[in-house]
């Protein structure tokens, strides 16, 4: 203490600080061993990739891949924060379709993703056609921004309607006769028992099902140039058609939530008879309500217009490469391996029911097998038949605001319908109200989008 003027206490603190600092500095910094880091949010993707990545590592000596499962919301916020702040990001990652648009904000030069367009349009190895020619083009739409393609589609996600085959058969309903939505609604009026059984899973307070039905009719939130179109004539007519299905005395649809035990119970109890069912959800049903094997069936989405598509789309995943990546060619190679390698396609399809977006892969026998769960139907074939008709789904950095506002417009219209009635006041008045609410909400999205000064 003689030579330290601040006393024992300060000396002790200083020694403690020096000791702990020395200890920390002597600890080896955790090294990033893997050559590539891959983040995914989907358990099914993770399990599937985990099995085949050793083969990629074997084919590429010296290359290691660190595959990480990150929760959906965490992945989105971590990716955004990391890219915004120039922090460490994975070399390759997957992002849910509804959140991917938020990554395209700001000046093009500052977007933290690699423009995959040149690679997608380049001829494939060994004289193979460009990837662009092999894929369903509509699936690039959500990941394209200002002419640049920032994501590879992981899927097509064509939609059918899942239905309770046993209940329909018992009631003498022949689903093959349901060709149009008018046919569907007619059957729905017969099958619905208010508060006990509804024809269809549709919500009166969120646009989760309304959105794919809008896509089926050729509508959307944005056009291909990112302009807001959620108040155009297609949207108005879709809303006018949808609201009486979920509100008022003649409603045929209800909703208890789209996932989880409550929804599972609703399927079991036959509380709802039909569910919008993209390929991925057909596996969810199979896993979550396995004892319904043989009682469930799939049918195409009824036609909204005579020559329109018998399908739509719900959900999706983009695969992106980050600019931070020092091994972009290798990351692309991994993406191609996971997307195109024929040896793993069958097993992955059987594990997920997800149809890949590459059309020439659909020839694999796995896509043409019968499914015992879905009443022995060839489910893969039915999705393949619909996949080329999948409508585009354009996105924008303000996509989440748009989905929120569209849901708000739905709530406004449902409220109006419940209070004023549709029949009493006539179609024109209701339509006028729908038009005004959609315009109001679309203008709010435009205002939000207009704040972007870049």
């Amino acid at each position: 203490m003689r030579y330290f003027p601040f006393g024992r206490a300060a000396f002790s603190i200083l020694m403690l600080a020096v000791a702990s600092g020395a200890w920390l500095s002597l600890q080896p910094a955790p090294k990033h061993h893997a050559t590539l880091t891959y983040w995914t949010y989907a358990n099914t993707h993770y399990n599937s990739y985990k099995k085949v990545i050793p083969e990629f590592e074997r084919q590429n000596p010296g290359v290691t891949v660190d595959l990480e499962l990150v929760s959906l919301n965490a992945l989105s916020s971590r990716m955004q924060a990391a890219m915004l702040a120039d922090l460490d990001v994975p070399d390759i990652f997957e992002m849910e379709i509804g959140q991917s648009g938020t990554l395209f904000r700001g000046p093009t030069k500052d977007i933290g993703l690699v423009d995959l367009g040149p690679r997608i349009h380049a001829p494939g190895p060994d004289g193979a056609p460009p990837l662009w020619d092999r894929m369903v083009h509509a699936r690039f739409s959500p990941y394209t921004n200002r002419g640049h393609i920032y994501g590879l589609p992981h899927d097509v996600h064509a939609v059918q309607l899942a239905y309770r085959r046993d209940i329909f058969e018992k009631a003498g309903v022949d689903v093959s006769q349901i060709k149009t939505w008018d046919d569907f609604v007619k059957v729905g009026r017969k099958m619905t028992i208010p508060n006990k059984r509804y024809m269809m899973e549709m919500s009166d307070s969120d646009a989760t099902v309304l959105e794919p039905l809008l896509f089926q009719r050729g509508g959307g939130y944005f056009d291909e140039n990112g302009r807001v179109i959620m108040d155009n004539e297609i949207a108005v007519q879709t809303m006018c058609w949808y609201v009486p299905l979920v509100a008022g005395p003649h409603k045929i649809a209800s909703n208890v939530g789209y996932f989880g035990q409550v929804q599972t119970k609703a399927v079991e109890d036959g509380y709802m008879l039909c569910y919008i069912c993209p390929d991925w959800r057909s596996k969810t049903f199979e896993n979550d309500v396995s004892h319904m094997k043989g009682k469930m069936g799939l049918m195409p989405v009824p036609l909204a217009a005579p020559n329109g598509p018998q399908t739509t789309t719900w959900g999706g995943t983009m695969v992106g490469l980050t600019k931070h990546n020092n091994h972009q060619d290798l990351a692309w190679k991994l993406a191609m391996f996971l997307l195109l390698d024929k040896t793993q396609v069958a097993e992955r399809y059987r594990a997920t029911n997800i149809l890949p977006p590459v059309k020439d892969l659909w020839a694999d026998p796995a896509f043409h097998e019968r499914s015992a769960y879905w009443s022995n139907e060839k489910t893969g074939e039915s999705y393949i038949r619909l996949a080329p008709e999948v409508p585009p789904h354009y996105s924008s950095p303000v996509i989440q605001t748009a989905t929120d506002k569209f849901s708000q417009a739905l709530i406004d219209c449902v409220h109006y319908y419940n209070v004023h009635g549709y029949v009493d006041h006539g179609d024109a008045q209701f339509e006028s109200y729908v038009r005004s609410r959609l315009k109001l909400r679309a203008d709010q999205v435009r205002a939000m989008a207009g704040r972007n000064p870049y």
Partner: protein, 318 residues
């Protein structure tokens, strides 16, 4: 004092080998600063600098540190004109109002009840009422989203059996029912926590005052008004202010209850959720900073009003 701190024997100072009388050595002057410096450095780096930075950012439209455009007061102009912000403020005020109006009387009532010696199992009951607070908002949010589910949720089943409420009552997807559901959940979560404060305050009230009041002929209600309430007033003020501030910071509970969203028609949108959505979903940290500063100033003003009304500054609450 400085000698003690410095750890030098007083004799050494007296012998003349120390500094001259009337002038403290530099090391003595520096000692206090040295002691507080670790905190001050950390606070400056992780507290003061982010606060200053966020104030600057509030005048920029941002897309990460690379892209920033000065927009002056436009963030604030947009904020005050944005109907979503109005909704968020309204929802937050409604939640804060009902939190204060329901939580404080409930917590006080429970505390009084569980302070009675005649009540059997009161230690267990205290723990039981406090225990929801150990769970955390996220867990409680998930739990209540299941309890409040239409058709199959426990609450609907119970209310259907008791009063015939429709089974498909949509607590979390009917805009009119979202806020009552959040207030109800928050009541379950926090009433036990505030009860502990009131219990401590009640036990600190001088028993002789009750005896004196009884001798003067005061009944239980009069005793409550004349003895208990003045006795617990400082704690009640503290609970009032912290409940209000906590209410303005509401985020995780509705966010998890409403499946990571603001709920139907933004019925569960709070100011902090609005901030989060703009800062971390839309990615405009500049605008989020403007929201943050507006919220901070709003909470400060309301707290000042509350402290003024309850007379804290004049020492009336002591």
């Amino acid at each position: 004092m400085s000698n003690i701190l410095a750890g030098r024997p007083a004799a050494q100072a007296a012998s003349g080998s120390g500094p001259r009388p009337g002038r403290r050595p530099l090391s003595d002057k520096a000692t206090p600063y040295l002691f507080v410096s670790p905190f001050m450095i950390l606070f400056a780096v992780f507290g003061v600098w982010p606060i200053i930075r966020s104030l600057i950012l509030a005048f920029y439209a941002t897309n990460g540190p690379k892209s920033q455009v000065f927009v002056g007061l436009k963030n604030f102009e947009f904020l005050f004109a944005d109907p979503d912000f109005h909704t968020a403020v309204w929802n937050t005020l409604v939640f804060a109002f009902w939190s204060v109006v329901l939580q404080i009387p409930f917590a006080l009532g429970l505390a009084i009840l569980l302070n009675q010696r005649w009540l059997p199992g009161r230690t267990f009951l205290r723990l039981a009422f406090f225990s929801p607070n150990l769970l955390g908002q996220v867990f409680v949010g998930v739990l209540f989203s299941v309890l409040l589910a239409p058709q199959y949720g426990l609450l609907n089943k119970a209310l259907h059996a008791l009063i015939g409420l429709p089974l498909d009552t949509k607590w979390l997807s009917n805009p009119a029912l979202v806020m009552p559901a959040i207030v109800l959940t928050s009541l379950w979560l926090y009433v036990g926590f505030n009860m502990i404060y009131f219990l401590a305050a009640l036990q600190a009230v001088d028993k002789e005052l009750y005896e004196a009041a009884m001798i003067d002929g005061a009944g239980p209600w009069r005793q409550f008004l004349a003895v208990t309430l003045p006795g617990i007033r400082p704690v009640a003020t503290f609970v009032l202010v912290t409940t209000t501030i906590g209410s303005f910071q509401l985020f995780e509970l509705p966010y998890t209850m409403l499946s990571n969203s603001a709920g139907p028609n933004n019925a569960g949108l709070t100011v902090v959720m609005y901030l989060y959505n703009n800062g971390f979903v839309t990615g405009d940290l500049g605008y989020a900073s403007a929201v943050g500063w507006t919220l901070a100033i709003g909470v400060l003003l309301i707290s000042l009003v509350q402290m003024r009304v309850t007379g804290v500054w004049k020492g009336e609450a002591k």
